[in-house]
Amino acid sequence: MMRAPRFSFVNIAFWMGIAFLYLPMFVLVVYSFNESRLVTIWSGFSVKWYAELFQDKQLMTAVWRSLQIAFYSATSAVVLAIFASIVVVRIKTFRTRRVFTTAITAPLVMPDVIIGLSMLLLFVAMTQMIGWPEQRGMTTIWVAHTTFCLAYSTVVISSRLIEMDRSIEEAAQDLGASAMTAFVRVTLPLIMPAVLAAWLLSFTLSLDDVVIASFVTGPGATTLPIEVFSSVRMGVTPKINALATLIILVVSLVALASWFISKRYNDKVAVALKSERS
């Protein structure tokens, strides 16, 4: 293995890139504890903006609504993604497979404004034709978020499913388990870390979306990002800095959790492989 020296060009470039990625957020966190209303001049340590944040009823309602939408979207996206991953990885022969595989990854790159607009037009047409959805709000945001989270979840889950050794499942079937039982009792537990990672990723993606939600939402159903966006447009305020700090904290914890889940899984697999060889 040829290894680059410690202070090589690429390593310096890497750490400069990391600094570029982290410094702006670091500054934001520091200034959320600033006493002054002027966000760029430091006048003393204070947590008053956090206190003000929790007294904002409208904001707290939006937070709760966003958390609910994220929970339901992540759950339904992951269930659909397990099915979709089986199709992508294992069912190689059906007539419109190309359409399916293209459609499943297309939302990954499709600009948000297009997804948002097209979804809204669908909901409007559906209301006219079949009377559902009666009004736009949490349900329509849930449907829209499930659709784009499905794409991300399928990528995460199918990449794990591809690495899976099929012979274990076949062994279960040879021993008399039905295809269904073999999948649920053998394969599903093995891909569980990927399913969890996909769920957490979908949860954060849903919690973060402002554009699609703005299109498909209805009267009175503002989500947290919509709320944040409308106040951010007015300029930088210390209260939003405080809110941003909390979001960064929560999301980092979620990301770290999902990283440890998949790391522990990988370590286990590595140990299992080692003991098998020796």
Binding site: M2, V10, A13, F14, G17, I18, F20, L21, Y22, P24, M25, V27, L28, T40, I41, L80, F83, V87, I91, T101, A103, A106, P107, L108, V109, M110, P111, V113, I114, S118, L121, L122, V124, Q128, V143, T146, T147, L150, I162, A179, M180, D208, V211, V228, F229, V232, R233, G235, V236, I240, N241, A244, I247, I248, V251, S252, V254, A255, W259, K263
Partner: protein, 301 residues
């Protein structure tokens, strides 16, 4: 009892249900909506709910179909829209190049780092992309503004006398885009670079090639799939980007995502917004096909 085998044959197989569940969802909520976008791009704006004229009308037992090409004509005749498309493509292209310039060394550094450090380094790059997109863009508003931290620092050091205008310019948009999309490029590039056979590099070194030469003749050509997949993950969404030009851009930043948003929300002209979306999808078809092609090549390797 004797009916059972017969019924079993009629009932669809498990395979059928596995395919149809995600397929139905995608068909209904991802593919079908594009049909409606196309349809409404051919109607006229109207003061009604919903604010467009119907395409089909049943008048005196005659089915009338109205196809209005006016929206497209309007888009092609007004230089503002063409300018917006051109700007979006140009800005997406330049920011993709910037992401490649910054992201390639980073991905390379991770791929060549000691094996046990790689997951942690990769996590360092990816962690910011999990944090709210909106908040990361917002962070730059505070940094780049006229009385922001960068200007205060520059003036404090005596490097400039008056604050530099950075916020509400194209420069700020580039910074925001590169900052937000960099992790999306590093991940597929790393996944490609880490799979390279390092014995090739050793062989090249043994034969007397310099590090630079080895890089340009072996590593770079081998990483082309990862580069294209990563570049498309940046280029395509940036063409339709709305949040970044809205928050960091100024009047000079006319991008198509912003124009579409204004047509839809401010002018309530749904047909023109739909026509804008249709043309945007047509422009993006080639990059999307490229992305899909290189993505599946990567997966099958």
């Amino acid at each position: 009892m004797s009916l059972r085998p017969f019924l079993n044959r009629l009932a669809p197989s498990g395979r059928f249900w596995i395919i149809s569940l995600p397929y139905l969802w995608l068909g209904l909520f991802f593919l079908l909506p594009f049909v409606f976008v196309l349809k409404i791009s051919f109607s006229e704006a109207e003061l009604a709910i919903p604010p467009y004229t119907p395409m089909f009308e049943w008048v005196d037992s005659v089915l009338n179909m109205r196809i209005n090409l006016g929206n497209y004509q309007w888009l092609l005749e007004d230089p503002l829209y063409l300018q917006a498309y051109w700007n979006s493509i140009r800005m997406a292209f330049i920011s993709t190049l910037l992401c490649l310039l910054i992201g390639y060394p980073m991905a390379y550094a991770i791929a060549r780092a000691p094996k046990h450090l790689q997951p942690a380094w990769l996590l360092l790059v990816l962690l910011p992309s999990w944090t709210s997109f909106l908040i990361r863009v917002y962070a730059w508003m505070g940094l780049l503004s006229n009385n922001g931290i960068i200007n205060n620092a520059l003036m404090g050091l005596g490097l400039v006398d008056a604050p530099l205008t950075m916020i509400n310019t194209n420069f700020a948009v580039y910074v925001g885009v590169v900052y937000s999309y960099l992790p999306f490029l590093v991940l597929p590039l790393y996944a490609n670079l880490v799979k390279h056979d390092t014995t090739l590099l050793e062989a090249a070194a043994d034969l007397g090639a310099s590090r630079t030469k080895t890089f340009f003749t072996i590593t770079l050509p081998l990483s082309i799939n990862g580069m294209v997949a990563g570049a498309m993950l940046v280029f395509i969404p940036v063409v339709g980007e709305f949040v970044i030009p809205e928050l960091l851009g100024g009047t000079e930043t006319i991008m198509i995502g912003k124009v579409l948003w204004q047509e839809f929300f401010s002018n309530r002209d749904w047909p023109v917004a739909s026509a804008l979306a249709v043309i945007m999808v047509l422009i993006l078809l080639v990059p999307i096909a490229l992305f899909h092609h290189f993505q599946s090549k990567e997966v099958s390797r």
